[in-house]
C-alpha cells in the first residue's frame, strides 16, 4: 500500500505523480468543494464570532473582541431557557417518534391487505411543508374556533385545554405536532430495516415456537439495532434545529414556554441585529452537535458490540 509521507520529498513526488497517484487526485474536486462550501463559511463564522460587527457609513466595520461574546452569553437571559426547552423537546420527540415509528413499521410490515394504502397514508405528514403544518395545527389548537376545542365542548367538557396559550401545555402541544409530522420519517427508515431482515430468520424463529413479542424482542430488535441508532441520530440532529413549526405555532411563547435555540439565534440575528453574537451562538450549537455526534458514534459502537 502506498504511504503518503511529507518527510521524504521523493516519496511525496511519487505519491503525487507516480503510479497509483490517481486516488489522491480523484478526491481533489471533493476537497475543493468541501473547502469552498464548508471550511470557508465556518472560518468566516469563527471570525464573526470573535468580532463586533456594525454597518457604518456603508461599510461593514468589524472590531475584534476576542472572547467578550462569553460576557454576552452570561448576560443573555433567554439562552439558558432556550437550551433547556430544546433539550426537553429533542429527548421527547426522538423517543416518542422512535417508538411509534418502530411500532407502525412492525405492524404494517405484517399486513398483507391494503399494505400500500397504509404506507402511503402514514407518510403523508412528511410531505407537507412545516410552515403549512404549523398553520394547520394553530387552527386546530385555536381556543375560540379550533377543531379540538369545538369537539370537546360538544362532548360536554366545561374547560377545554388552552393548548398553545397555556404555558404549561405549550411545549407539549408543539411536541404533539412534531410527532405527527416526523413519525413517518422514522417509520420509513424502520420499515426499510425490517424488510431487509432475511425472511428465513423470521421463519426459523417461528418454527422454533417464538410468538410475535418474542420475535420482536429477540430477532427484529437486535437485527434492527444499527438502523434504529442511525435513525435516532438523524432525528436528533433534525429535532435540534427545529424552527419553522414553532415559529408559526407559538413564536416561542406564551412567555418563554416554547423558546428554542434556533429561534433565539434567529431573533438575535434578525431582530436585534447582533451579527457577531448570533455567529457565536451558531458556532456554539454546531460545536455541541459535533461533540454529540462523536459521542453518539462511540456509544452506538459499544451498544452494537454488546448486542453481538
Amino acid at each position: 500500500m502506498a504511504r503518503f509521507s511529507l518527510n521524504n520529498s521523493g516519496d511525496l513526488r511519487t505519491a503525487l505523480f507516480g503510479p497509483g497517484s490517481f486516488k489522491y487526485w480523484s478526491v481533489a474536486p471533493l476537497l475543493v468543494v468541501l473547502v469552498i462550501f464548508t471550511v470557508l463559511p465556518i472560518a468566516q463564522l469563527l471570525q464573526m464570532s470573535v468580532s463586533e460587527l456594525e454597518f457604518i457609513e456603508g461599510e461593514l466595520v468589524s472590531e475584534f473582541i476576542g472572547l467578550r461574546q462569553l460576557d454576552n452569553l452570561a448576560k443573555d437571559p433567554i439562552v439558558g431557557i432556550a437550551i433547556k426547552n430544546t433539550l426537553v423537546f429533542v429527548v421527547a420527540v426522538v423517543l416518542i417518534e422512535t417508538f411509534t415509528g418502530f411500532a407502525l413499521a412492525v405492524a404494517i410490515s405484517r399486513t398483507t391487505t391494503l399494505s400500500i394504502v397504509y404506507r402511503s397514508v402514514v407518510i403523508i405528514p412528511l410531505l407537507i411543508p412545516p410552515v403549512a403544518i404549523g398553520t394547520m395545527w394553530s387552527l386546530i389548537y385555536d381556543y375560540n374556533y379550533g377543531l379540538i376545542t369545538t369537539i370537546l365542548i360538544e362532548l360536554g367538557v366545561q374547560n377545554p385545554p388552552l393548548w398553545t396559550a397555556d404555558p404549561d401545555l405549550a411545549l407539549i402541544s408543539v411536541i404533539i405536532v412534531d410527532v405527527w409530522h416526523w413519525t413517518s420519517f422514522m417509520f420509513l427508515i424502520m420499515l426499510a430495516g425490517i424488510e431487509s431482515i432475511p425472511p428465513s430468520l423470521l421463519e426459523a424463529a417461528r418454527v422454533d415456537g417464538a410468538n410475535e413479542l418474542r420475535m420482536i424482542r429477540h430477532v427484529i430488535l437486535p437485527m434492527m439495532a444499527p438502523t434504529i441508532l442511525v435513525a435516532m441520530l438523524l432525528r436528533t440532529i433534525l429535532a435540534f434545529k427545529v424552527f419553522d413549526q414553532i415559529f408559526v405555532l407559538t413564536s416561542g411563547g406564551p412567555g418563554t414556554a416554547t423558546q428554542v435555540i434556533s429561534m433565539h439565534i434567529y431573533k438575535v440575528f434578525s431582530e436585534q441585529f447582533r451579527l457577531g453574537y448570533a455567529a457565536f451562538l451558531s458556532l456554539m450549537v454546531a460545536a455541541f452537535m459535533t461533540i454529540f455526534v462523536v459521542f453518539y458514534f462511540w456509544a452506538s459502537r459499544v451498544v452494537r458490540r454488546r448486542l453481538g
Partner: protein, 448 residues
C-alpha cells in the same frame, strides 16, 4: 405592471382595482387631477420595488397599476412576506448594485438602515425635492440625525413615508349606541365599557395582542410618561421603567389584556384579534389602523357598517399616545443616479394629495393629513380615516435608536413572561429597567 406579484392573488388585485375604479368614477375631479399629475411625470426607465405583502398591499398595487397606465412607466414589484423583507433589503443595499430601485422599510428597521449609510440621501437624487408639509412627520421618520444617532428634524432626508400605519381604537358602534356609551378616551373608561358590555364567551369586553406583545404596549408606557428611553434636556437618557409609572403601565396592560379577554389571551396575535372583532365576539380592541378596511369586507366580516374608530385611549384624555408603525420608501446607495431618480419619481407621484386620496380608496393607508381630513366625511372610509386624522396630534413613535431592537427584545420577553405569570409585574419591570440601562450604557450613552 410586471407579473411578479408574489402572494398577492389575482382576486385581491381585481378587487383593489375595482375599488379604485369605483372611487375614480364617482369623482371626476379626482380623476382629472390624477391625469394632470401624470403629465408632470417624465418618461422613466423600468423600476423594481421591494414591497411587503401586508393587508394594505392591494391598494399599493392598484396605485402602481395606475402609475403605469397614466405615465407609461413600467414598474415591477417583488412582493415579499413581512418576515422576509429585512433580509431582502439588507442583501440589496449591500450588493454591488441593488436589484431594487426603491425599497419599503418598516419603522422598526429604520434605525438599522438609516444608521448604516447604505441608503442614498433623497437630496442627492433630487436636490430640489422638499418634503410636503402635509406629509405627516411620524416623529421625523424621514430624517436621520447622524450626530445624535436618532431621527431628528435636522437630520438627512433618507426616506419618504408611504404608509401611515398607526394604532387605532376600534369599537362596535351598534353596541355602544344601544347602550348609550360614548367611545372612551381613558383606560378607566375602557375598563368600565369592558365590564358593561362583556358577556363571555359570546362577547368579550376587551383583548390585547400578546404575540408579539411590544407594539400596542408602547401606547401604555408612553401615555404613562414611562417611555422605554427618553432624551432629557441635559443630553442624558433616562429609562422609563425606573420610574413608578413604568410599573403602573405594565399593571394596566395586564389588567386590560387578561380580565375581559378570551381564555387564550396569552396567545392572541393580530389575526386572532381581527377574527374576534370581525366575527362579532369582541366589543372593543386597540390594534393596527391598517386593519380598518377589513371590517368592511363582507367576505371576512359580519360587522361591516357597525364599526367605529377613534384615538387609542390613554391614562388621561390629554395623554393619549398611539404608536406609529409606518413604512418609508428609500433608495439604496449602490444605485446609479438614473435608477434612483426613476424610483424617487414614483414615490413623489404616490405621495401627492390626489394620488393619496385614490390610495386610501383602494384600501391603503395614506401619509398626508390633508388626505385624511378630506376623507373624514367619506361614506365608505370616513369612519376610520377620521380616526387617523384625529390621532395625528397624539402620535407617539418609539424612540428610534440603533439599540432600539435590543430594548424592544427585553420588553417583549419580560412583558410576555409577566403576561403568563412566569414572573411578577414587579420583577418584569425591574428586569426591563436593568436590561435597558445595560444596553444604553454598553452602547456609550450617558444614562441619568
Amino acid at each position: 405592471m410586471n407579473k411578479r406579484i408574489g402572494n398577492f392573488s389575482r382576486r385581491d388585485f381585481l378587487k383593489a382595482i375595482g375599488a379604485l375604479s369605483a372611487g375614480l368614477a364617482a369623482n371626476p375631479l379626482l380623476h382629472s387631477s390624477i391625469r394632470t399629475m401624470a403629465q408632470d411625470v417624465m418618461s422613466q426607465p423600468p423600476i423594481t420595488i421591494l414591497i411587503n405583502d401586508s393587508p394594505w398591499f392591494p391598494g399599493f398595487a392598484a396605485m402602481v397599476e395606475l402609475y403605469s397606465e397614466t405615465t407609461g412607466n413600467e414598474v415591477n414589484l417583488d412582493v415579499t412576506p413581512f418576515p422576509g423583507m429585512l433580509d431582502k433589503t439588507r442583501n440589496a443595499v449591500q450588493a454591488g448594485e441593488s436589484e431594487y430601485d426603491a425599497v419599503a422599510i418598516t419603522e422598526q428597521n429604520i434605525p438599522f438602515f438609516y444608521n448604516s449609510g447604505l441608503l442614498k440621501p433623497i437630496l442627492d437624487i433630487d436636490a430640489d425635492y422638499t418634503l410636503d408639509e402635509n406629509i405627516i412627520s411620524y416623529g421625523d421618520a424621514a430624517r436621520w440625525d447622524s450626530d445624535l444617532g436618532v431621527n431628528g428634524p435636522m437630520g438627512t432626508l433618507l426616506g419618504i413615508p408611504i404608509n401611515g400605519n398607526i394604532q387605532l381604537y376600534y369599537y362596535r358602534r351598534d353596541l355602544f349606541d344601544d347602550a348609550g356609551i360614548e367611545p372612551p378616551k381613558t383606560f378607566d373608561e375602557m375598563e368600565t365599557i369592558a365590564e358593561q358590555l362583556g358577556n363571555p364567551p359570546r362577547l368579550f369586553g376587551n383583548a390585547n395582542r400578546a404575540n408579539p406583545i411590544w407594539w400596542e404596549f408602547g401606547a401604555y408606557v408612553d401615555s404613562y410618561d414611562a417611555e422605554y428611553v427618553r432624551l432629557e434636556e441635559d443630553g442624558s437618557w433616562s429609562v422609563g421603567f425606573e420610574r413608578p409609572e413604568g410599573l403602573e403601565a405594565v399593571q394596566r396592560w395586564l389588567k386590560l389584556g387578561r380580565t375581559w379577554a378570551p381564555q387564550n389571551y396569552a396567545d392572541l396575535g393580530q389575526g386572532d384579534l381581527l377574527a374576534l372583532m370581525a366575527s362579532g365576539r369582541l366589543a372593543q380592541v386597540h390594534m393596527v389602523g391598517a386593519a380598518a378596511p377589513n371590517y368592511d369586507n363582507p367576505e371576512i366580516s359580519i360587522v361591516g357598517g357597525n364599526m367605529g374608530a377613534t384615538v387609542v385611549p390613554g391614562v388621561t384624555a390629554e395623554a393619549r399616545s398611539p404608536r406609529t408603525g409606518m413604512w418609508v420608501m428609500s433608495h439604496p446607495d449602490n444605485l446609479p443616479a438614473e435608477r434612483a431618480a426613476a424610483g424617487l419619481e414614483f414615490v413623489k407621484w404616490l405621495t401627492t394629495k390626489d394620488n393619496q386620496l385614490a390610495y386610501a380608496k383602494a384600501g391603503a393607508i395614506p401619509v398626508r393629513q390633508d388626505t385624511y381630513e378630506e376623507l373624514a366625511t367619506d361614506e365608505v372610509v370616513g369612519w376610520w380615516t377620521s380616526a387617523f386624522a384625529e390621532s395625528t396630534p397624539f402620535l407617539h413613535p418609539e424612540t428610534r435608536l440603533p439599540e432600539t431592537p435590543l430594548i424592544r427584545d427585553s420588553v417583549s420577553t419580560r412583558l410576555a413572561q409577566a403576561y403568563v405569570d412566569e414572573i411578577s409585574p414587579e420583577e418584569a419591570v425591574g428586569l426591563m429597567a436593568s436590561e435597558i440601562r445595560t444596553v444604553m450604557e454598553d452602547a456609550g450613552y450617558t444614562v441619568s
